[in-house]
């Protein structure tokens, strides 16, 4: 029942991924400031809508802009009225944690006069529209922010080496059903991997030969269905770090190798550096 990019309406809605209103736009720029000690979040915003019909609705108090804020971990879900000329919201300490979505929406707040727009797509020509309270008129791009310290957690904290006897010698496999990403190997191989951890160079070889491909597999799995994993601890940390690194975990055309190297801070460079190259 979410209002997201796949939600469709039986009336024109101004949004950047459809051409209901031709090239008209509704955008809201957001800046988020986090006090990491208290967890207090200040969101500064300024928006524009360049469709005259919707501008008129707002000017005549038939429509208003809102920022819908949702945080799954803390059950925070609220719509905040916003003024497009700009302002700020103070989201008190402790209300948000982890992945937070901010979605700007313009809604009718009373009965509107008939929609008179010269920008409507051809498919709406000849049709008449007027709106009533809570009808969605415009949806802006979603903005994400990650609250808390997960984004600072070292990557190694989301992996665990586990014994799985049926894995062939010198092979590994990845399991994603636990709170950490399990890299599984048989007892002998696992002991070899542990031994490699004893030197800096060995750790960097491990990073390139075991963790990098494992993380690529994780990213591929997440790209095809993050919902399946999003309650896992490893996924919360990965999502936080992805937001910080500007990586889209749900991209329809994921680049797992590029992104895995970003998450692991260029493991090849680290190996070369440890070997003195």
């Amino acid at each position: 029942m979410r209002l997201n990019n796949t939600t469709r309406f039986a009336h024109p809605v101004l949004r950047n991924d459809t051409s209901d209103y031709g090239d008209k736009e509704f955008t809201v720029e957001l800046t988020t400031k986090e006090d990491r000690k208290t967890g207090k979040i200040i969101v500064e915003y300024v928006g524009t809508v360049n469709e005259p019909a919707i501008q008129d609705y707002i000017a005549n108090d038939c429509a208003a802009a809102f920022l819908f804020i949702h945080c799954r971990r803390t059950y925070y879900s609220q719509s905040h009225p916003i003024t497009l000329s700009g302002g700020s919201l103070d989201l008190g300490p402790g209300a948000l944690l982890g992945h937070v979505t901010f979605r700007p929406i313009i809604c009718a707040i009373s009965e509107t006069p008939e929609l008179l727009s010269g920008s409507l797509h051809d498919e709406y020509q000849g049709l008449s529209f007027s709106f009533t309270n809570a009808d969605v008129l415009a949806v802006g791009d979603t903005y994400w922010y990650d609250v808390g310290l997960d984004k600072l957690a070292p990557m190694e904290t989301i992996f665990v080496l586990e014994t799985l006897d049926e894995v062939d010698p010198d092979q590994t496999l990845v399991k994603l059903d636990g709170e950490k990403i399990a890299i599984c190997a048989n007892e002998v191989t696992k002991n070899k991997l542990h031994h490699m951890r004893n030197s800096v160079e060995g750790r960097h070889r491990l990073l390139n030969s075991v963790y990098l491909p494992a993380l690529m597999q994780v990213l591929s799995s997440v790209a095809t269905g993050i919902d399946e994993h999003e309650d896992k601890r490893w996924c919360q940390v990965l999502r936080s770090k992805a937001t910080e690194l500007n990586i889209d975990l749900e991209s329809p055309s994921p680049e797992s190798l590029r992104d895995a190297q970003k998450f692991l801070k260029s493991p090849l460079s680290r190996l070369f550096a440890s070997e003195g190259n």
Binding site: R8, R73, Y75, L97, E179, D231, R233
Partner: protein, 247 residues
């Protein structure tokens, strides 16, 4: 009132990796972690949050829906000052289930006649809270706090009535609380509670509630409940209940 205590991440990791080693402490009636608790990693505290530990001693491990309501209220009474972000913190909950609430957690969630390995699995599920779902649904104490928090959000003046509805059956709890996008939207979630009260069909069978929620999801997509008057949302819920019961 006392300060809210928590353990260090290293202490938590150590406990998690040593469940089998400590299995007797978890299982035996006189098992405790009191000797380990003297170590420094067990006694960090949040200065700005006070708790009243007395209600912890009143927790009833029998597990019936009405007892779950009372237990949720007890945990809320003890820890209502805690913020939602703090309530996601594994180190707080793990300390509680190993110290203040160990006896309750043991009797509520560890069954007799299970092997060490099976008991260790139960311990990892109910004595630690590493992620949202484990914290909200499985941890012995955290799940009670989240029940109460969500009930308070929806019925600030009658938390118990909201809890009684949400916890009527395990299936209703899971279909309500585990749907974060539904339960956290106050206007929507309040309307679901109201229809549960006025239309017996909705909760008379587990299957009814599931079918009802499917219809709400199907027809509620794109509706901005936050801006609609309560009466209009109630009409929508009544229509959904009628459609679900007719299907």
């Amino acid at each position: 009132m006392s300060r809210l205590s928590y353990i260090t991440q290293a202490t938590l990791d150590g406990l998690y990796e040593s469940i089998l080693e400590h299995i007797t402490r978890y299982r035996a009636d006189d098992g405790t972690f009191e000797d380990l608790r003297q170590e420094p990693g067990w006694n960090l505290s949040l200065d700005d949050i006070k708790i009243d530990p007395t209600p912890f001693t009143e927790l009833d491990p029998s597990g019936t829906p009405m007892v779950e309501v009372e237990n949720s209220l007890r945990v809320w009474k003890a820890m209502y000052e805690m913020t939602r972000a703090q309530a996601c913190e594994d180190r707080i909950w793990t300390r509680l289930s190993h110290v203040e609430c160990l006896t309750y957690a043991r009797h509520r969630w560890l069954k007799e006649g299970r092997s060490d390995e099976e008991t260790a699995k139960d311990v990892s599920k109910h004595f630690f809270a590493p992620s949202l779902t484990v914290c909200r649904d499985d941890h012995a104490i955290a799940r009670l706090w989240w029940n109460a928090r969500i009930a308070k959000l929806l019925r600030p003046d009658d938390q118990k009535a909201a809890l009684t509805l949400i916890l009527k059956t395990a299936d209703i709890r899971s279909n309500f609380i585990e749907r974060s996008y539904t339960a956290s939207r106050r206007e929507l979630a309040c309307a679901i509670l109201r229809v549960m009260e006025r239309n017996e069909w909705v909760t008379s069978k587990e299957r009814n509630y599931r079918d009802f929620m499917k219809v709400v999801n199907k027809f509620g997509g794109g509706m901005v409940f936050e801006l609609l008057p309560a009466e209009q949302i109630d009409d929508f819920m009544d229509e959904c209940a009628a459609k679900a019961s007719a299907a």
